[in-house]
């Protein structure tokens, strides 16, 4: 059974701190790993990492895929209160029946 485990489950930091969120996975026929940010409504897409694109960066956010360790990290530098959200890791696999398996998410709270 495909599995995605995220840690920590929750994290409280102060504005300006740097945080690292972790995601490990066991998925059949791995194709991609995705990070989403979920505030009150729908998850919004952040990054997709694949075998051909193991590192992505956008502003203060960056992510790296370690295919050997079957894991990924999401880094957020100089955190802001607007970064408070649940960060979801999802892994795509399953060959021809490609589908995403989600972790439980990390609840990040950034205090002023």
């Amino acid at each position: 059974e495909d599995k995605v485990v995220q840690s920590p489950l929750s994290l409280v930091v102060h504005e300006g701190d740097t945080v690292t969120l972790n995601c490990s996975y066991e998925v059949t026929n791995f194709r991609s790993l995705l990070w989403y940010k979920q505030e009150k409504k729908a998850p919004t897409f952040l990054f997709m990492l694949t075998s051909s694109g193991i590192e992505k960066k956008s502003g203060r956010l960056s992510s790296i895929l370690d295919k050997k360790e079957l894991s990924s990290i999401l880094n957020i530098t100089a955190t802001q209160t607007g970064d408070s959200a649940i960060y979801l890791c999802a892994v795509g696999g399953g060959g021809s029946n490609y589908k995403l398996t989600f972790g439980k998410g990390t609840l990040l709270t950034v205090n002023p």
């Binding site: 919004t44 897409f45 997709m48 398996t101």
Partner: protein, 113 residues
């Protein structure tokens, strides 16, 4: 602005009622999905479709049913709602081709009393 729409956003209904949660997308995506998410828990796939007249059950057993008569429309129906169906239901879609992320709708938060 979202290109995938879910209605209603919130719904409170009584036990035993039949309900349909609507999901529509304007992107022409072939693949559509329904996920169920309880607070503090991961998203669980309950149904998916790879195109018109194609529907499959997901990983999480669900008493709901779906239909896909048109590419853009993927409604989910509960014939007889129960309190155990209280949850958030998220609809998502993606184009054909494995290495694309999903686009999610805003979700329907269902409460069965």
């Amino acid at each position: 602005e979202a290109d995938i729409y879910q209605t209603p956003r919130y719904l409170v209904i009584g036990t035993g009622k039949k309900i349909t949660l609507e999901c529509s997308q304007t992107m022409g995506h072939d693949k559509m999905y329904w996920y169920q998410q309880d607070p503090g828990m991961e998203l669980h796939l309950i149904h998916y479709s790879y195109g018109v007249n194609s529907t499959e059950k997901g990983d999480l057993s669900s008493e709901s049913t779906v239909s896909r008569i048109r590419t853009e429309h993927f409604p989910l129906t509960l014939e007889s709602a129960r309190p155990s169906h209280t949850s958030q239901y998220l609809c998502a879609s993606r184009p054909w081709g494995a290495d694309y992320g999903y686009t999610f709708g805003s979700g329907t938060r269902l409460t069965v009393v």
